[in-house]
Symmetry: C2
């Protein structure tokens, strides 16, 4: 899944939007607007409100970038191994490589606390469009209007947080045509119960990533604790151990990260010609450096294994998107859609007056934005420590301001989640810090010139190597207590600090702020108004039979368990353990198609005909990793972990014939827990046999 | 494999040629010019003349359109099930469906004679270029020159046949730049020993056809008899039951049917725009009609099963070629090759004078040929009986002429093979005859108009249905004895015949002859001279480090057992029996992915890790079906049965990265014979354990 890319892409701050007409089974629907009409017409199925609420409350979002679901009344949480892998790595030591070897806590006291994992359950949703829009009413200047809206959003969030104690986010949907307050119950005591070996979860490695047929046990189980005890909840999904069958209607409930389906042609072309190639270069440079580093030894390899994993994932995802954007058919389809909407708008004088100029405005903004985008992509430090330092410097300054005037990351409602992350006890490795920082700053120098203000603020005219050594060797920010003391000491403590990272952050802060303000006031504010016009034009022309672009918030997708045309023939609806042994043997058990010792040893015990992975036509994207797949009864039949190679175009366009979500089958997870990992107690708990 | 297409394509009578520069592992080499330099350089391997001779003499060509090899000193002949399927069908009855159920003769007396199968072993090769070219020296008129060359070729064939008793063919290679006399030992007593069930041989059916990974037991074993006794021979391939391993150098010895790699751009575009679409329409129309017929019952289905099989094969092959020809990369590459050659020719005044006009000449001929090509494709009867009738009418007229003046099919040297086919006792079904004839003539009427002379000659102004009923119901040609009597009775008997098929053939004969003569004298003769110029230009520019286009004569390919990039990841070098059970289960054991009862029953006995199919980079094409794959020792390690979907472009271009031949693994054949079919005696004979 394209997790990292999702994170990076958010930084580029471009459009959200709404789709004109949904194709068969296309759509990432908000829970307030499920596609009831289509479901009734195509599947003769109408979920009740209780069905929808139960599924929503059983679904979770992980701050590591994925999704998950509760699967027992005692807080068991199912997600992907690749969503859990950052926590696995953070908990690993030279003695215990949990990422490589897996983990199983047979009893509660063996369960392993995650250093900085927060999970969110969406407990409340309320539309606040009128209030947000009223705040900017009558303000002609786009920059001032945007500020006013942001201040109002912060106020709504704070009110909610104060009143309920819940994490409260105001999000915009449908090209900023709607604003919603989403309230989350947050949990931060999340302990690992089970993870298979990385090789079992990620059989086929980077080559098989984003493809199907697959044979992966990409699962992990956490237990969520509250007040030091396992969470007791009624909101969990019953496990259907028979799992999904071909032709079944199945739903996916999860948090797709970001899509660009509503972007205009001008935006797509900037994505294709500027953003994607720049990101690819950045990520490929980092992979190259880290792979070289990993070759130095097992200890080094362990430190960068996950990082390389996510970067390779990004490369494949971005390359797939690029391919889609270079496909004449895709471009022609997008152009035709845009032409149709514009023609319908133009045919109605009132619409034309209200919305008609939006496309040209966006094209102008995109043209203006080009150098800024490149600057934004390459102005990175590559250092976790420096990120902490900059957050500390900004944090102490921002929290003194009225909530509505702060930088968006420091709104009151989000502070506790932010602090949780900033104070993570997860280890930070000096050698990796130096490696990534040097690589990233060298690339920044190549791309932006040695005289770039950001680069200069870090290097102060010296060599990159010398500056990086001084920063990484001199800082004390490795220790979360040091970070906490600075946060708690406020502006005075930060101003007085002689920590070299903090000093560097103080130099970078004004540059970062200036860039943010320029983007916000000159580009984003204009863009947002224009996008809102297009969103409204769509509502006017097509009505609200549509879903908004993905925003890493909870969505419902539906579809059918079914194969698709591939490789000149058909891909099967599901694979089996037979296939795992076939593909491994076909490559002579060579990496990345080697069996783990536990898998090999289980051969005689396994029922090889057990379904292992399957595909369904549900519309998903990066961020959906770990989402539950449920049947009509709302019971769990599978676990999303990937999309097929054809789904990489899904950022822009959903192809009902070939776009497929890839999931671990419920039966495979039971078979593996019992017969490969001897985790019968855990399997019993999940199947309600305790 | 594209067998039928190969047959149809031959009818369109277009170019042969020579490749400029061979890419890595590209090439279908004649046994007189093996790629010794490349083999030594890349694999450090130099086959001896004895190695080459043994492989050539162990290889056979089947007149059913495929290839094969001797695998025991007692005449056991290995080929594909799909090469044997016509004979299986011809031997089947309402009681015994050998195609569906398979066949195994545990003892020699149970072996089942094939009605009309002839196999040829290439025992002699001799270049005769000078003699053929001398015959036309000084003749300015292209049509007269062609006639002179054809007469000389017939004379050479007859001399050889008279002197040796061998089947003797003069073939042209390298765009008619070389002529060779090929002498074959022919065998016509060929008995079936073993065939698996069609479903085991063709697991995955039409969808999986031309794809990989595959799980097919596409094998059959015949025994060749001479004078009523099993042929005793030293020329057979030793069986290597370990089979091919990844990275191995492997050779394929077989008879690729036809390639168009040396065609000019003008020719390729006519192929793309006229020939391929017309053939597709013809074949799709026939499939539609036969599938409708098959739905009427099991008996009907059995009669057209093979025909549908070959037609579907054609559709997939032609569609794949079309896709290649519509691929801008392929077209650009071909254009660049042509541009380079033309530029080099133009840069040398002598070459330019000799060869420079050839490309434009070909473009003019192709333009002229367009309506003729369409006419040739749709002027078909669709009736086996009518084909016999026309052959009889032409045969009795032609054999009276001097050999050199006959239509090419009736040259003395080929008569015994032709008569063997014409007198086949294989059953002909009136209902299928009517169906195919009606379908074909209706399409001819649509395409050429009801007033087309060929259509008129068959329908005589009446309805197609009435004409077909009269012909098929009235003829006695079902009986091979009736055909023989007419052949032996000569012109008088044929002229006196009132058999309606013979009468129709007498009406069609002058039309067919006129068309042949027009094509030969006005198009083919000019084309051949121009192609010969291009062939000579290539020799002049690039030397003879090249192989000729395929001509359904024996060729040697070499390559490596290796996977290739597919579906966003890698295809494995080989598959295993595990994969058979995986793919079947993944489709819930539904057709065409259902296991046969014998396969299912063997599950407990089979070693599932046994390699089943594998891929190698050897350059092959339709006609290579059934070719042996041999290792450095010349031992048999596999059996070619298909190419991957990427190889469908192989008619025009070989892509070393993705073009792969697909073979049944030697270990799988032994495992299946012993554990699925209980054919231990046969397996022992093959492994030399008797």
């Amino acid at each position: 899944m394209k997790r990292m890319w999702f994170r990076l892409a958010l930084a580029s701050g471009l459009a959200l939007g709404v789709l004109a007409q949904a194709y068969a089974e296309e759509g990432m629907w908000t829970f307030d607007n499920p596609p009831l009409k289509d479901l009734a017409a195509k599947y003769n199925f109408t979920p009740t409100q209780a069905w929808l609420d139960h599924l929503r409350l059983s679904s979770v979002r992980l701050n590591d970038g994925g999704s998950g679901s509760f699967v027992s009344p005692d807080g068991l949480l199912l997600t992907n191994h690749h969503v859990a892998r950052l926590q696995l790595q953070k908990n690993s030591t030279a003695e215990h490589d949990y990422l490589r070897d897996g983990f199983y806590a047979a009893t509660e006291d063996q369960e392993m606390k995650s250093p900085d994992l927060e999970i969110n359950v969406l407990v409340g949703m309320k539309e606040v469009t009128e209030r947000v829009e009223s705040a900017a009413k009558g303000i002609a200047d786009p920059a001032q209007a945007l500020k006013a809206r942001q201040a109002e959003m912060a106020a709504i969030e704070k009110e909610s947080k104060d009143a309920t104690g819940l994490r409260s986010d105001v999000i915009s949907l449908y090209n900023d045509s709607e604003y919603w307050l989403y309230q989350y119950k947050a949990y931060t005591d999340v302990r690992l119960v089970f993870a298979p070996e990385e090789q079992a979860a990620f059989f086929g490695g980077d080559p098989d990533n984003f493809t199907y047929p697959r044979y992966d046990l990409d699962m992990a189980l956490y237990r969520v604790y509250e007040n030091g005890k396992p969470l007791h909840t009624e909101n969990y999904l019953k496990w259907n151990s028979k799992g999904a069958a071909p032709g079944d209607l199945v739903f996916v409930s999860g948090n797709p990260g970001s899509t660009s389906r509503q972007e205009t042609m001008a935006q797509l072309l900037v994505e294709r010609d500027i953003v994607d190639p720049d990101f690819l270069e950045l990520v490929e440079r980092r992979i190259q450096a880290e792979q070289e580093f990993a070759r130095q030894g097992a200890e080094q390899a362990q430190k960068v294994d996950s990082s390389i994993f996510f970067y390779q994932n990004d490369v494949k995802a971005i390359a797939g998107e690029q391919e889609a954007l270079e496909d004449k058919g895709v471009i022609a389809k997008k152009q035709a859609e845009e032409d149709e909407l514009r023609a319908k708008v133009a045919a109605n004088p009132e619409w034309q007056r209200e919305y008609g100029d939006a496309w040209d405005t966006i094209a102008q903004v995109e043209e203006q934005a080009k150098p800024e985008l490149t600057r934004q992509i390459f102005r990175r430090s590559g250092s976790q420590l420096f990120s902490f330092a900059l957050e500390i410097v900004q944090y102490v300054a921002e929290v003194k301001k009225p909530d509505g005037e702060r930088l968006p990351e420091y709104h009151e409602a989000g502070l506790s989640s932010l602090r949780f992350q900033m104070l993570s006890p997860a280890p930070i490795y000096p050698d990796v810090e130096k490696l990534d920082m040097t690589t990233t700053l060298k690339l920044a120098t190549e791309k932006l010139g040695a005289s770039d203000a950001y680069v200069q603020a870090l290097t102060q005219g010296g060599s990159i190597e010398r500056a990086v050594d001084a920063l990484v060797d001199g800082t004390k920010l490795y220790d979360p207590a040091v970070r906490k003391a600075l946060l708690d000491g406020g502006e005075a403590a930060v101003a007085a600090s002689t920590d070299p990272m903090i000093e560097a952050a103080r130099r970078v802060d004004p540059i970062a702020r200036a860039q943010y303000v320029y983007l916000r006031d000159h580009l984003e504010s204009v863009l947002q108004l224009a996008e809102e016009k297009i969103g409204k034009a769509r509502f006017a022309v097509y009505g609200k039979n549509a879903y908004p672009d993905a925003t890493f918030t909870l969505r419902l997708s539906y579809g059918t368990v079914e194969g698709y045309p591939y490789n000149g023939t058909q891909a099967p609806p599901f694979t089996t353990f037979y296939g795992l042994f076939d593909r491994s043997a076909g490559f002579s058990n060579k990496s990345p198609w080697d069996l783990t010792p536990k898998e090999a040893a289980a051969l005689g015990r396994l029922d090889l005909a057990t379904p292992m992975n399957f595909v369904c036509s549900d519309d998903i994207i990066g961020g959906n990793s770990g989402s539950p797949v449920v049947d009509r009864n709302g019971d769990l039949v599978g676990l999303i972990f990937d999309g097929n190679i054809e789904s990489l175009a899904g950022d822009f366009v959903y192809d009902p014939e070939k776009n497929r979500a890839v999931a671990v089958h419920a039966a495979a997870m039971m078979e593996a827990l019992r017969k490969i990992y001897g985790a019968d107690a855990l399997a019993d708990e999940i199947e309600g046999k305790q």
